[in-house]
Structure formats: C-alpha cells, structure tokens
Symmetry: C3
C-alpha cells in the first residue's frame, strides 16, 4: 500500500496480495483517523462478504474466488471504546458481470485497489446493541 | 434515527423498522439541507427498487423481502420548486450474496443503516422534463 | 451535459444519448480537474463493463442493452503523464433488479445521469505497471 494525504482526503493504492481491511486499519492507525468515509474500486481475487440474519443475530459468510471487479466498496472508519473500528460493505462483478456482495469480511487485492478516504473532523463511537446484535453508532 | 453534524458532514444512524426515504426527508427538513450527496450502507429486510422503462416513461417496481445487506446507496438531496427532493439508488446482497437494485422507492431497515451526508453549499432545483418523463437537474 | 460548480464540488447532469466517459473527460478538461472523486447514479440503455483477468493481464468486456438503473458509479479523475485520466467502475440493475457491473468501458445514458465530482487539491499521476498489466497510482 502507498498513499498520499491532501488536506482531509487520502488517496490510497492497495496492492496485489494485500487484504483490504488490514490495510485500512494500518492506514487509520498510522494517520490517527478517528472518523472517515471510504469509497474504493479495484480488483479482488478472493473475498468474503457476510449477510446478517436478523432473526438469529448472526453473520453468514459467502466466499468467492476468481477474477472480480469491485463495483462498490463503501463505509466508515470510526471508533468503538475509542479504538479503531471500520465497517465496510462491498460488491464485485465476476467474469460475466454478475455482481455479488454484502458486509465485508475479507478481500484480497488481485491487481489494485484505489481508495478515497474523506476524514471527518469529529468522533462517533459505537456500542454493542444487544437487541440488534450489532455494534451501532453511538451519538 | 439519530445523527450528528460535523461541519458540512452529517453522520446518521437509521434504526430497525424505519424507512430510509422518510428518514432522509425528516433529517433534510430539520437541518434545512438544500443540496447534499448521500452514501450509506446497512441492512434492510424489505425494499422496493424501480426501473424506468424509457420507451414507456414509466417506473416498474421490484420488491424484495428477506435478509439483505445494502452494498450501495447513493444519490442526492436537492430541491424541486424550492421544496425538498431526494433521488437515491440502492443495491443490496441477499443471503447468497446475489445483488439486486435500482431506483429506490422504499427500504425498511432491519438492523441498522449508517449514512454519510455531505452538504454542498448551493442549490440545484429540478424541472419535469416531458420528453424524458422524469424530474431532472435544472442549471 | 450541464453542470454547476459549488466550491470544490461539481454537480452534473449527463443527458440522454451521451456517453458517460466522454462527458467526464470533456468536463475535466474544461474545468482543468487534475484529481477528483466521482459518484453518480442514473439510467443507461447500453453499457460495457470489463473484467481484468489477472493471469492473462487482459480485460474482457461484457455488454448489456435494455433498461438499466445505475446503482453504483464510482472512481476517480487523475492524470497519467500529466494528462487527463479517469478510472470508473459501474454496476446497474436490469428490469428484474438483477445487478451487473465491472470496470467501465462505455455507458450511454438513456434518461439522465446525476453526477457529483469532488475535486481534491493535489495531483496523483499513474504509471504503467508491467507486472500487473495496469496503469496504477504513482505516489
């Protein structure tokens, strides 16, 4: 990964073989980002996206391998108990253009990933909501 | 729904059982937002997305129920005749990761929806374009 | 196409029959945009999205015609050797809501396309990476 910061915007390139969530964490910790919005595109060869079954309060994972183009990768960096937290969803098109996606668990870059991070001045923490079963924005 | 404003950026949480378009309207009216860009993710259990058939100048709706993860929810708040207007498109992945989407008519949150609204200083109104059959940006 | 600039944000309408990549180029050259982030929605009747086969270092194209709603159109304007460059990925839902997408090669607007361009103060050039077979961000 390499990146550059322009004011409140970071432009990043995540490289072949790198896992996107790990790199977002590395970048956020290095730059001390507490709150930001993320948008990215790229190509991934191996990714896992989850779906949350609300009745069971459990994530189920779908894993994909092959040549995929990221068509949406969006979400936030924020904090939980003051520590780094990221929540991203992703979808990607396969070799026929069919698109698959969900809550991002893992995505390994196969060619490149180009990411824009817009830093927001402020903080939003999370709390575990036991009724929903997820870590939600706390205001 | 709860949210916080940081400068020109609003971070919002839309809650289980709430309908996204209604909450965007409520927030925009309360904060007097005339022009903004929206990005969000989350989980929905019941949503309707339309496709505009250009030859007929009519929207056709596809409705989905189940456990879905929003993978893209993007668009704008602006105005038509000076009044609130929003235009959003959404796609969401099902329990197998298959993604469905279109012009957003309705989306009921099943777990949470995390939304970033970037307010733009200015206004863009809309006009009804009779040839296209839609309400378009007027410059 | 018509558009208006509000500070560092451009709001654009791309019209029926216009090709999106051509219009992004026209706008970027006219406004001398060196680096920007793009988000859009709209309706397209004819589009081609590619998938990069990493093992062959070649793009393969999937073309679609019909009534489609853009559900994600994201990427950047930047430069290669100082000249205009854009890299966009797109996905769109068909009349049943099924979503198809990939690296954007061509998209002809069928009704309207509403685009937000966030200009970033700075430059990021590209270089041809022979190992990957693509033009990557150079920092």
């Amino acid at each position: 990964m390499e990146y550059r910061k322009f004011g409140k915007t970071i432009v990043a390139r995540i490289d072949k073989g790198e896992e996107i969530l790990e790199k977002v964490k590395e970048l956020a910790l290095k730059e001390n980002i507490k709150l930001a919005n993320i948008n990215a595109l790229g190509a991934v060869g191996d990714f896992t996206v989850g779906v949350f079954k609300t009745s069971e309060k459990k994530y189920y994972a779908n894993s994909f391998t092959g040549d995929f183009e990221i068509v949406s990768l969006t979400g936030t960096i924020n904090t939980m108990n003051g520590e780094f937290y990221t929540h991203l969803h992703m979808s990607a098109g396969d070799s026929e253009g069919k698109v698959f996606g969900g809550h991002l668990n893992k995505a390994v870059v196969s060619a490149t990933c180009e990411m824009i991070i817009n830093i927001i001045d402020g903080t939003v923490d999370r709390y575990k909501d036991d009724e929903i079963g997820l870590n939600l924005f706390k205001f």
